[in-house]
């Protein structure tokens, strides 16, 4: 008993104390070693991934690679079209998904009183977030490319991605709406404000951080997505002139960064440019994670 008392008093220092039977000692040490081993493995994996991608990709990274398009005539090898297409998809998707997502979150937290309806909407959001992207690609192809006649286009891909990212925006907005103190709402309503006025002036400004976090997470998913963009958005790598006309805006197709990477690596067996695109994607992922963290921290401080 005296030894167990020691472990109780100072568990951290004496976790394999002197009084344990050989079996318990082995269990303790064995599992502790395994835990460290697995954590080490995870870290080693990440370090290897990053190190290997940088090692293979960095030599090809240059200003020219980022700012030109691939051209046999000029002998340039660049990914500017992919960067432009990625930007287009991110912006158009957010323009569609953001109002819908924020609106849905406001409805769920501020208006909805019918429990069954709330449950239905929440079930739908969970379902949407569980559907894999290849199924979104199928539905996007059927619904937007065929039924709506958009064909292979970045607009059709953006519409599909808006469906896909709706749950993320709804969830983060909802969480942040819940942090706005109930008293603020009651105060505004008590002073005679209408509900919409209250939402516009009190609730939404108070939850802007959550909305921004939702956007950042969505951007991360959009940048990393590939199946939808490949099968609905197309895979050309020539520069698009989106703003030349409405038709160009609606019907341009092309590869984003992830699709460009896939085309380089799998279709054309050009591993070096593929790794350089991966370096760009890695940097973007890092920045997006960092931004989400900074905004999240601000949210918690409030």
């Amino acid at each position: 008993m005296s030894q167990t008392a020691v472990t109780m008093e100072a568990p951290r220092e004496k976790s394999w104390g002197t009084g344990l039977s050989a079996g318990r000692k082995a269990y303790d040490r064995g599992l502790r070693a395994l835990v460290w081993l697995c954590a080490g493995l995870t870290c080693a994996l990440l370090l290897f991934l990053i190190g290997y991608i940088l090692y293979r990709g960095l030599p090809g990274l240059s200003w020219e690679f980022l700012t030109t398009q691939e051209s046999l005539l000029k002998g340039t090898m660049g990914i500017l079209p992919a960067i432009q297409n990625t930007l287009y998809v991110v912006v158009v998707t957010l323009v569609i998904a953001l109002p819908l997502g924020v609106g849905a979150a406001v409805y769920l937290t501020e208006y909805a009183t019918n429990h069954r309806l709330v449950n239905a909407i929440e079930f739908a959001t969970e379902t949407l977030s569980g559907i894999p992207s290849i199924l979104y690609a199928l539905v996007g192809y059927l619904a937007f490319s065929n039924t709506l006649g958009l064909g292979y286009s970045l607009l059709a891909a953006s519409l599909t991605l808006a469906m896909m990212n709706l749950p993320t925006i709804i969830r983060t907005t909802q969480e942040s709406l819940k942090t706005v103190p109930q008293g603020y709402r009651e105060g505004a309503l008590g002073l005679g404000s209408g509900k919409w006025h209250m939402i516009r002036t009190i609730v939404l400004p108070g939850s802007i951080d959550g909305i921004v976090t939702g956007c950042i997470l969505a951007v991360g998913r959009i940048v990393g997505e590939s199946a939808v963009l490949l099968y609905v958005g197309g895979m050309d790598s020539t520069l698009n002139n989106f703003f030349a006309s409405l038709d160009k805006f609606a019907h341009s197709s092309g590869a984003t960064l992830t699709v460009q990477l896939y085309v380089f690596a799998k279709e054309r067996a050009m591993m070096d440019p593929a790794f350089t695109v991966a370096v760009v994607l890695l940097a973007l992922t890092f920045l997006i994670n960092l931004a989400a963290k900074v905004v999240g921290k601000k949210l918690r401080q409030k």
Binding site: W16, T113, I121, G220, A227, A265, A278
Partner: protein, 293 residues
């Protein structure tokens, strides 16, 4: 929510607008379901449900006598997912124990963003690194003609599900009341015994949720494994080139002719995958609901 003031048209309009936004998510799910069912059924009807689900040959390129049996894809998806879970869950769970309990706080807070980064890396990047590193390694190690095998896909999937398993199980482990651990320590159990025999069982529904989430991720992944699995419609074998449900759709979508039975059959595969995913989602919901109670 009784309103005493008279109804203002702007207020009513905004209420309606917000309701519509809320309803959009439901509408999307309905649209997805309807499209997948309507486009997925014709080929199943033509081929026959039993022949479609349990047929062992998929020979869509055969002009005279094409065959559309998807059993190889179903089994490959199941084997591949199981393999990824068998490798990914123990490593992920033990890493979560490390982050939540064993690691010094400073070390844990350095590793956590790294795990987030792992989660954010696009799937094609995993596929590409798999192509560049894993395939030659597997070819050399097992003396194969090509490294594009089920084994390569399993390893890539295991890495890809790792971050979600780590973060969900870590959250579950942290949610266990401190008193449980204190009681166990006071009774003379060591820290490690406490984590594995008290904390982990108490967090079991959260850990189960992590596993189910991992299953969902693994069964739905397409692009990364398309780059390493070889994409031949073989019955699964660890060292064979295989096609998953997802990669069958992904690899043939671009060349199947519009309106052909071939394309219809791809939509049917999509429907089968959708049913799998819905079952997993329902399972996940049940587990999460039980946890809340």
């Amino acid at each position: 929510m009784k309103r005493t003031q008279k109804i203002n048209p702007l207020e009513a309009g905004m209420h309606g607008l917000f309701f519509l936004c809320g309803f959009v998510a439901v509408a999307f799910v309905l649209v997805i379901t309807v499209y997948l069912v309507i486009s997925g059924l014709p080929a199943i009807r033509e081929v026959g449900l039993v022949d479609f689900l349990f047929g062992t040959t998929w020979d869509s390129d055969n002009k005279t006598n094409p065959q559309y049996g998807i059993l190889p894809f179903i089994l490959t998806s199941i084997y591949g997912t199981a393999g990824a879970i068998i490798i990914g869950v123990p490593i992920g769970f033990l890493t979560a124990v490390f982050l939540a309990k064993v690691a010094p706080p400073k070390v844990a807070s350095a590793i956590r963003p790294a795990v987030d980064l792992l989660a954010g890396i696009p799937s094609v990047v995993y596929g590409m690194v798999g192509m560049a590193v894993l395939l030659p390694a597997i070819r050399e190690a097992f003396n194969l003609r090509a490294g594009d095998t089920l084994l390569a896909a399993i390893l890539v999937l295991a890495v890809m599900i790792l971050p979600s398993i780590i973060s969900v199980s870590e959250t579950a482990l942290r949610a266990v009341p401190r008193e449980y651990e204190e009681a166990s320590l006071a009774l003379g159990a060591t820290e490690i015994e406490t984590y594995f025999r008290v904390t982990a069982p108490a967090a079991k529904s959260g850990i189960a949720a992590a596993v189910v989430l991992g299953v969902g991720r693994a069964i739905g992944e397409a692009m990364a494994i398309m780059m390493v699995a070889g994409n031949a419609p073989n019955m699964p074998g660890l060292f064979k080139s295989v096609k998953f449900l997802t990669t069958a759709v992904a690899s043939e979508m671009s060349y199947a002719a519009d309106g052909s039975l071939h394309k219809m059959a791809l939509f049917s595969i999509g429907l089968v995958l959708f049913i799998f995913i819905m079952m997993i989602n329902v399972g996940l919901n049940v587990i999460l609901k039980r946890e809340k109670e």
